[in-house]
């Protein structure tokens, strides 16, 4: 496995499957994520794309910014439509391909959760990637259940930012006992690529959760996207780890444990936070980290 991954990583540096001319905003983490994932998967990939920013990013009708087949589908159908594509490939017996369901956090945590749960329970042979920009960005920054505690969005306006923490999507996927689930970050492209390549090798439902900063939605400077993605990992806000068969947890990168303040202060969606609130977030992050470490030790 390690050799396979290393071999593919060397290829990774050369081929590009995403072309310039896409419609992403400056500093879009989701565009970066697609670029890295496609580099890792190669051309034998079919993308299933529900409503999300990527519906727009890919380009208007008659254009596409990725060099692989793309099927646009309804918002809540990434997993179920991908399962249909996989079923067809199976019965038709064409060339091997990865069926990549590519959905935002809204399409994954919220409206598409039922279909995804069905697919995961049946262990359909697809790779599901959730690029998580922590809100409905396509429609203009409304909260999703991936929006973090106390973040501003247009539907959690001040003085009442989001009162509840982010849903633990990885735990939900792990509870389905799928063969492989992992978190990844656009600030750690080799780790991301290695996980994608690993997922490509496994049979069954694979889930990769990528944190993708969104400058307009997070109200952060566009040149800070990679830095923010890195800080999310280093502050343990978004740890990098893998879960095999729903039980074997492995932490892929030991974070430095930088205070969350450093991450939060670069984003204006958190600019209203008081010291005490930052402390509350820090506490939640530490607790979640401890739980993860326990699972990983076990």
């Amino acid at each position: 496995m390690k050799e396979l991954i290393e071999k593919d990583l060397s290829i990774l540096r050369q081929e590009e499957y995403m072309s310039p001319g896409h419609l992403a905003c400056q500093g879009c983490g989701a565009a970066l994520a697609m670029r890295h994932v496609l580099k890792a998967l190669g051309p034998e990939t079919i993308v299933v794309l529900p409503a999300c920013c990527w519906t727009v990013i890919n380009g208007p009708f008659a254009y596409s910014s990725v060099g692989v087949p793309v099927l646009h589908t309804a918002f809540e159908t990434a997993a179920s439509a991908a399962a249909g594509v996989r079923a067809a490939l199976e019965v038709l017996g064409g060339p091997e391909a990865t069926v990549l369901a590519w959905a935002g956090d809204g399409g994954t945590f919220d409206i598409g959760l039922q279909a995804l749960s069905g697919v995961a329970e049946r262990d359909e042979d697809i790779l599901y990637v959730c690029y998580d920009n922590e809100a409905y960005m396509n429609t203009g920054i409304q909260r999703s259940s991936a929006t973090p505690l106390l973040a501003w969005t247009t539907t959690t306006p001040l003085p009442r930012p989001k009162p509840r923490p982010k849903k633990d999507m990885m735990a939900i996927m792990a509870a389905h006992r799928i063969p492989y689930a992992a978190t990844a970050s656009v600030a750690f492209p080799e780790d991301l690529a290695a996980k994608v390549i690993k997922a490509k090798i496994y049979r069954g439902t694979k889930f990769i959760h990528i944190l993708t900063p969104c400058p307009p939605g997070w109200k952060s400077p566009s040149e800070q996207t990679v830095r923010l993605a890195r800080l999310a990992v280093e502050t343990k806000v978004f740890p990098l780890y893998e879960v095999e068969e729903g039980v074997r947890h492995r932490i892929s990168y030991m974070p430095k444990g930088i205070p969350v303040r450093e991450y939060l202060r670069l984003q204006d969606r958190f600019s209203h936070l008081q010291e005490e609130e930052i402390g509350r977030i820090q506490k939640l992050v530490d607790q979640a980290w401890e739980r993860l470490v326990k699972k990983a030790l076990w």
Binding site: F61, V68, P69, T73, A87, P95, Q114
Partner: protein
């Protein structure tokens, strides 16, 4: 080979004979037997298809959409609440020009809960871009599935085949199951013009601005128009091979009819008996059964109504706030005709209430006795 089977199993055998490749379906009374039988075929290996046991009808159609886009012959079946849950994806399947075939068992929409016959479920999906056929016998259900794939794959639009809950779905009738070789000769393998293919990558369904969307809808309308001819041609070839024939409409004893009953589905079967009785009593009454509702058989309906002084449309469905849905369509169809018959409309049998020959005969006699449309909607058998 003749077998005594219920309407639901006629649908399953039809799908099997078409060698469908991907089935994604979710159970709902009174459709359940359609999918159970198919699961059995797949389990025993007599049908080489992938059966996806989805967690909802919404996912059933989403999976069919994915499968069809990737080039497989896809099938699903549902009813009422399940069909309503699919609504968004009904538009999607048609807009994506995917030749999916679905069997819908016509059942009343809740609340109150009802599992009995009523066509409002499928008729309220009228404008989704699916062809809609309403069957009148179990044989027709089976034959229509076979014809549907050919039509659908020719015009690149999905087809919904409807049959009445219980009156057809659970009623056993002798059905001729054609030989597989014959079906294979009639229905070649599905060869899509475009599909998801890593050797020839395309993007399907991406954002189309006002510059493109309009023409895409025009193309669907054209395909619908073209479908009428395709249905007739396919029907003629089917007749040549299998000896049974179905058109867009079916005329029964319409020669010289002064009063034309118009009905669809199982009620049309009952109406036939009523026509016989009235003809025996010397009344010039005929029946026009509308089999294909979308595309609407405008020319056929006009032609059939030409000689009639009166038309009585019987609807087991209701567009609340206007009236029977076939009634509306017939009125719209005849509005420019130089000779317009009186067009009576009757609602009957909503939620599975029996529509007996007596109820229909009374309505027909009432139509015969009137020379003016006074009440826009008649409610047959309404308890007061």
């Amino acid at each position: 080979m003749k077998q005594i089977i219920e309407g639901n199993h006629a649908a399953s055998y039809g799908a099997k004979l078409c060698r469908v490749q991907v089935i994604a379906a979710y159970p709902i009374t009174p459709q359940t037997q359609v999918v159970e039988k198919l699961a059995e075929f797949c389990g025993e290996g007599s049908l080489k298809a992938r059966f996806i046991e989805v967690e909802s009808e919404h996912s059933a159609l989403a999976s069919c959409i994915g499968a069809s886009a990737a080039g497989a012959r896809a099938f699903t079946a549902t009813s009422a609440q399940g069909l309503a849950l699919m609504h968004e994806l009904l538009h999607w399947a048609a807009g994506a020009r995917l030749p999916i075939v679905m069997v819908n068992v016509n059942r009343a929409m809740a609340p109150p809960w009802s599992i009995w016959a009523d066509q409002t479920d499928s008729l309220s999906q009228r404008d989704t871009g699916w062809l809609q056929f309403y069957c009148s016998s179990n044989q027709e259900v089976l034959d229509s599935v076979i014809q549907a794939y050919r039509v659908s794959e020719t015009v690149s639009l999905p087809i919904m085949l409807c049959l009445d809950a219980f009156f057809l779905s659970h009623t056993s009738e002798p059905v001729d199951l054609p030989e597989q070789d014959l079906v294979d000769a009639f229905l070649p393998r599905y060869k899509p013009q475009y599909k998801l293919d890593i050797r020839d990558p395309h993007t399907f369904g991406g954002l189309a601005g006002p510059d493109h969307y309009y023409e895409m809808r025009y193309e669907i309308q054209r395909a619908m128009e073209e479908a009428k001819g395709v249905i007739l041609k396919t029907g003629a070839e089917f007749h040549r091979l299998f000896g049974r024939s179905y058109g867009l409409v079916e005329e029964y004893r319409t020669e010289g009819a002064g009063l034309l009953l118009i009905a669809s589905g199982a009620i049309a079967g009952t109406a036939r008996i009523v026509v016989d009785a009235l003809r025996d009593a010397g009344e010039k009454v005929g029946l026009l059964r509308i089999r294909v509702f979308r595309p609407f058989p405008v020319e056929e309906v006009k032609r059939a109504c030409q000689g009639a002084a009166k038309v009585l449309v019987v609807d087991r469905n209701l567009s609340m706030g206007y009236g029977g849905i076939f009634h509306q369509e017939v009125k719209g169809t005849l509005c420019h005709e130089p000779h317009r018959p009186l067009i009576f409309g009757a609602i009957a049998g909503l939620g599975g209430r029996d529509v007996t020959p007596r109820v229909l005969e009374e309505a027909a006699r009432r139509a015969l006795s009137l020379d003016r449309v006074e009440e826009e909607i008649w409610w047959l058998g309404l308890k007061k």
